[in-house]
């Protein structure tokens, strides 16, 4: 054997010299960059919030004047009260000053400060959409990875088919159907609101009551959105399925489900996470339809009412809140992604 071999003994170990240990302290600068980006988006939203609603058709004062007879003097007085008599630039400046002092103005319709209203309605919305989001994500990701791992199987076909069908169903239609069957005909669940009248807050009965009220809106929201998570996860895992490192894992003698759980899924989750969090933001905003149909006392319903006003300060307020939630979610997605993917952690 030896005579066919030239001893290969190069002493150049360049590859070893060129290394230094990775620095983990870059987290702050990464966080700073992402936070800065989020703040800039927020400023843009605040600016947009003012102008977008000035373009809306409909004059709020005339709308109020339609409901009860008012003299021209009274109308002018109303305009002065709302600051609508001032030039747009002055209105804009007032708006900016107010926003940064935390004052979102006073609702035209409710006659209470917008921040107070929003504080009151935010909780129910977070409860409803949070629950729906968790269930939809868990269901979507789980079905998605199962479907991808057994791509083309009956399970895959049923899961994908069902979710896509539900996805294409209009939200309000599904909500109405559920309401008619389970709320109307079968009377299993209440048809609207969040609490039945007369139930003491803080008791166990209260929790059960709220939960019963939540079932139909949550089912509607989950049914409509889980397909997004399923499809993203499925596509992402399908891409990973042909990776070489899975062959390595299999060759090591790993059981098939461990190959999936330990190696394939963590990698497939990377592109999924960003999309999931971006969708959560959208989910909160998408609560408008569901909350309106089920009379859920949340921000969505409040927005719906504000649009029909048009109650401009309230609209501006909910718009800023919804946008902030979406921006925060994207920020969280960036931070989580960094934790999950060591390649980003270093950059």
């Amino acid at each position: 054997m030896t005579d066919t071999i030239t001893p290969v003994n190069a002493e150049v170990h360049d590859e070893k010299l060129a290394e230094e240990s990775p620095t983990r302290s870059s987290f702050l600068s990464y966080f700073g960059t992402k936070l800065g980006g989020a703040l800039i988006s927020l400023v843009m939203v605040v600016l947009l919030g003012f102008f977008a609603f000035r373009v809306l058709p409909g004059d709020p004062v005339r709308r109020i004047a339609q409901e009860r007879p008012m003299s021209p003097e009274q109308i002018a007085e109303l305009r002065r009260q709302y600051g609508l008599d001032k030039p747009v630039t002055q209105q804009f400046l007032d708006y900016l000053v107010n926003i940064f002092t935390g004052n979102l103005g006073e609702s035209y319709v409710y006659r209470t400060p917008v921040s107070e209203l929003i504080g009151q309605y935010l909780g129910p919305t977070l409860l409803l959409t949070g629950t729906s989001a968790i269930i939809a994500i868990a269901l979507g990701l789980w079905l998605g990875q199962r479907a991808a791992w057994r791509n083309g199987s009956l399970f895959d076909k049923i899961a994908t088919g069902t979710s896509l069908t539900l996805w294409s169903v209009p939200t309000f239609w599904l909500a109405l159907i559920l309401l008619m069957i389970f709320g109307g005909t079968l009377r299993w669940f209440p048809t609207g609101g969040m609490v039945s009248p007369g139930v003491e807050p803080g008791t166990f009965a209260y929790v059960v009551d709220v939960a019963r009220h939540m079932v139909l809106p949550v089912v509607t929201m989950v049914a409509v959105v889980f397909a997004q998570y399923l499809m993203v996860m499925r596509a992402s895992l399908l891409e990973e399925k042909s990776s070489d490192y899975l062959t390595t894992a299999r060759a090591k003698g790993l059981r098939d489900d461990l190959v999936r759980r330990r190696h394939a899924v963590p990698n497939a989750l990377l592109p999924t996470v960003t999309l999931v969090f971006m969708h959560i933001g959208g989910l909160v905003a998408g609560a408008v339809t569901v909350e309106t149909v089920f009379s859920w006392p949340g921000l969505g319903k409040l927005t719906y009412e504000a649009i029909s006003g048009p109650d401009m300060p309230l609209l501006q307020g909910t718009f800023v809140v919804f946008s902030t939630i979406i921006i925060v979610m994207n920020l969280i997605a960036d931070l989580i992604y960094r934790q999950l993917d060591p390649r980003v952690r270093r950059a």
């Binding site: 005579d3 066919t4 290969v8 490192y245 390595t248 090591k252």
Partner: protein, 574 residues
Amino acid sequence: MPDLVFDDVSITYRTAAARGRGDIAAVRNVSLSLPAGGTLGIAGESGSGKSTLAMSALRLLPDNAVIDGQVRVGDRSVAELSFGELRALRWSEVAIVFQGAMHSLNPVRTVGQQIIEALELHVKDGWRTAEARKARLAELMNQVDLPIAKAAAYPHELSGGQKQRIMIAMALACEPDIIVADEPTTALDVIVQGQILEVVKDLVTRRGISLLMISHDLSVLATACERIAVMRNGELVEVGESQQVCTEPREAYTKQLADAFPTIGDPASRLKPVTRRTESVVTGSIDAIGAADASAPVHEPTKGGAGATDEVLLEARNLSVTFRSRGKTVRAVRGVDLSCRRGEIVALVGQSGSGKTTLARTLLGLEAPDHGGQVLFRGKPLGRSTKRLREFRRQVQLILQDPSAALNPKLSVYESVAEGLRIQRFPGDERERVAVSLENAELTPPEHYFEAIPHELSGGQRQRVVIAGALAMTPQMLIADEPVASLDASARGEILALMLRLRDELGLSALVITHDLGLAWNIADTVAVMYHGEIVERGATETVLLDPQHEYTKKLLAAAPKIVGREGVLAAAQ
């Protein structure tokens, strides 16, 4: 210690008949055996079925692969094992060294975790507890010559060579009896390749592990294996002792494979790369090869320097390129002087990270040189204005390493070649120019290729399309970055021969960037060796490669795997 035996193995991939390909026979009636403690190499081009055969040893093939015949480890047939038995066999008895430089490691787990995972799956006496496993990990890292701190690194933080060492450590983890190494050194440069082969060889001889190694490069196999099997189109062409296979092959195909990677210093391969034409003439006997050689395009070795004229086409003067990012400065190119004359082929040689690609980009005007450096084209400094650069880029065309990635998969050959003409607003008959370019790139008849999409062409044909696209601009010079590194042995020879022919017939100059000294020996008039951003040695190919002066050039030459017996024959002939 068990033997690994392939007994009349055939492997067929069942594909959906609707896609029109039906069943594909990847391996046909192959019988091979690897005795305990032995070393066997399998050589072949891509598509020869060598990897499929190796993966069948652990039943790692996709579900649509049907295996006939028997694969035995010891006296057990792999096909008859239950899944539990198979998992126990995997890694603890037969382990695989994958091509670690690519994607064989999970990117989101540390390499240490991935090695420990194997230990946890196959608990043996040596590592029953977590501490013992840690100790074992340290021992393994030590065996492959890596500091233990590297175990905490993620794959992307390691160089190609380090990843390959990790793959080897992982394969050794559970003390297997047999190791299958699938292209363990492909995509590594010569010096790192030498180091890895050294590690593999050392471990095999010291621990008596049997080794089955797969490669497209006969000289790599000759370095590490006692016996070599040559495969082609799923069939076994030849099996024998390494030296016999490499120096006195019984089959013409083996000789062709061996010659694809030339021996530096062998006048037979100087300015004469092996082409597939040999193959079509050869009938199988040794005598026919001589005749075939004569029919291959002949380039007199003496013509080397004489092919070039005195006119300097492209010149770099005191060229430096510095990259600055986040407080760090990297001096990729330092004070380089380089010139390429009309009709001259210059090979720029160096290992990865030496700055050769940055230099090429700067020569093309894609990267701005530091103050004080200059690129001159036909004696005039390269302007920064768009108009000047556009004219310059018509004259100097770039050819990239991977033709599959360089061509838009959706465009037909005609569109790909014509694209550049349209950008440069070519005034003449576009169709005629495209046809002539394809003919010059030896794609004849050109009409036959017009409507083809890259997917339907072989790797060599795709690279020809890329070259045709460059030729369409009637350039005076080609800059080729590793033009044959992603091609098979036979395609490699063809493309190199094409470049020589373009030099002779069209007077085209070329700057070829490569890590492969054999390539320089095959086609270059002049060689420049680059190391840490500097050109450390430059001169006529014969001078530099046969009588290297700089320490680094000597190291590069020493690291290139070669078949010693062949050199012996050579020396005897002289």
